[in-house]
């Protein structure tokens, strides 16, 4: 029962003033929680705060029951890894080297890799089905491949919590699906808690176990995916009319029925 990997209690976050207020949730191992909401609703701020890129302005975050403030940066890095929207600067690095960079918190003073580290990198590459281009230059592969490599890097860090900020934005449909399948497999196999922001509602509903909807910096609604992803919730969350929502979002589902 108590498999909670990350828990936030009355979290407040922002840069100079609160962008997010009073956000509380918990995610278990193997669970995928998506964070959805309109642009500017605070999704990125939430993920950045959870990833400790932004100092919290209030509330608490617990990682596997430990207060995140009490964790040393290196210990924290073994528990949380991220895939961010920041551009990765990896000239003259092969994809494998980018993945291996994820071993940072585990390696010694000079960062020399052990066989164990190499094995973890290979496994992450296998898990993301990236063997084919693993030895190529990171800058020479496609966007979809690059995203898989960055996911592999995050996996290679062997985290308990994986934070993905809009990981599917630049991918085409096939790669989106492949990416989501990998995330699902990872969550199940490694008992990892996944928190992921995304814009694609159809896909979010498919992949999520639970969802957190943000609007204007507050929790609009949250809970199991089935309860959250309803037409009523989504139209209110995004301020669109039901007619438009039906026309643009639910089309495929209706044809199927």
């Amino acid at each position: 029962m108590d498999n909670v990997k990350i828990e936030a209690r009355s979290l407040c976050a922002g840069y100079t003033s609160d962008i997010l207020t009073d956000v509380s949730f918990s995610v278990r191992g193997g669970e995928i929680m998506t964070v959805i909401g309109p642009n500017g609703s605070g999704k990125s701020t939430l993920l950045k705060t959870l990833a400790m890129q932004l100092p919290r302005r209030g509330g608490h975050v617990y990682i596997s029951g430990t207060d995140a403030d009490k964790l040393q940066p290196r210990e924290r890095a073994k528990k949380i890894s991220v895939l961010l929207t920041e551009r990765v600067n990896a000239s003259l690095m092969t994809c494998r080297e980018v993945v291996e960079a994820g071993r940072y918190p585990y390696t010694g003073f000079f960062g020399a890799l052990t066989d164990n580290d190499r094995e973890a990198a290979s496994e992450a590459i296998r898990l993301t089905a990236s063997e084919e281009f693993a030895e190529r230059d990171f800058n020479a592969v496609s966007d979809g491949q690059r995203q898989r490599i960055l996911l592999a890097r995050a996996i290679c860090q062997q985290p308990e919590v994986l934070i993905l900020d809009e990981p599917s934005s630049y991918l085409d449909l096939r790669h989106k699906i492949a990416f989501m399948e990998t995330v699902r497999r990872l969550a199940a196999e490694k008992n990892t808690a996944v928190i992921m922001s995304m814009h694609e509602l159809d896909m979010a509903r498919e992949i999520s176990d639970s969802a957190l909807c943000l609007k204007d910096g507050r929790v609009f609604c949250m809970g199991g995916a089935d309860g959250v992803f309803t037409a009523a919730n989504m139209t209110k969350l995004f301020d669109v009319s039901e007619e438009m929502f039906e026309r643009y979002i639910n089309t495929y589902n209706k044809e199927r029925m």
Binding site: A51, M52, E86, V88, S91, M93, F110, G111, Q157
Partner: protein, 336 residues
Amino acid sequence: MKRGHVFAFIALAVLTVLALCLNLGFGSADISVSETVGILLRGGSGTAYDIITKIRVPRALSALILGGALALAGYLLQMFFRNPIAGPFVLGVSSGAKLTAALVMIGAAASRVPLSSAAMVGAAFIGSMASLAFVLLISRRVRGMSMLVVCGVMIGYICTAVTDFVITFAQDSDIANLHSWSVGSFSGMTTENVIVILAVTVPALVGSFLLSKPLGAYGLGEEYAVSMGVNVRLLRTALIFLSGLLAACVTAFAGPVSFVGIAVPHIIRRVFRTSKPIILIPACFLGGGIFCMLCDMLARTVFAPTELGISTVTAIFGAPVVILMMIRGKRGGMNG
């Protein structure tokens, strides 16, 4: 370490020894190779002995170490600004160091206070840090790397103009060396200078090398570095401190030396085809040493007995590399 890297390091070591030999063997005084070898191995006395031990050895060694220091300073600044054309010269760091060093030199000459090498390094360090502070302020306001470089060049021009102004009105027999120093030169190095240079550069080199691991993570991107547990603020401070110190040391002794800081790290990255700091830091240092020793030899010998400024030679070989880099630009460069 990969086999290719081992070979490349061996090649660098061989080139270092070769360049050192060339620098010791050639000069305006005609000393035969066998005589040079004899002096180095067995000692001796007389004019030839003095020329070798008091002029050529300190000069060759300072070119080696200061060249390495420059290349390393360039590499560190490139990592800091994530910009392959950052370097102590283009960012105005060398010129800032030159300004404060010149002021202290002239002040000391005017008040007849003897000036130690360490004090010169200290003065230059203040100037290099002041220039870096300006560049950092500007870098917060401007987006885009080319703007940063343009601002650095402008800071460089301002400092150089003030330095020239001061030097022009401080014509004094005591500062006869000031002119050759202010255009950059390895001439007139003493053994005492070399000791101070070593005392500053070696700790900075070791310090940079110890930063290899966090530096590698920082190279991937700041947010990723934070997520992997790197203390980014501390790392950035260390980068600025180390590169400022290295550039200051070079400027205090040899004046401003252009393009080594950009051209050498670029060539080294191409040769080693890696971005790993643990390999690039020592490789850049050796590469910078070789580059400066060869350039200094040309500066001394091509129009002997007239000496060229070291920057004249480094610019001839270094600037085309930078231009090529900018043309080939985005594809293979650090901005990917």
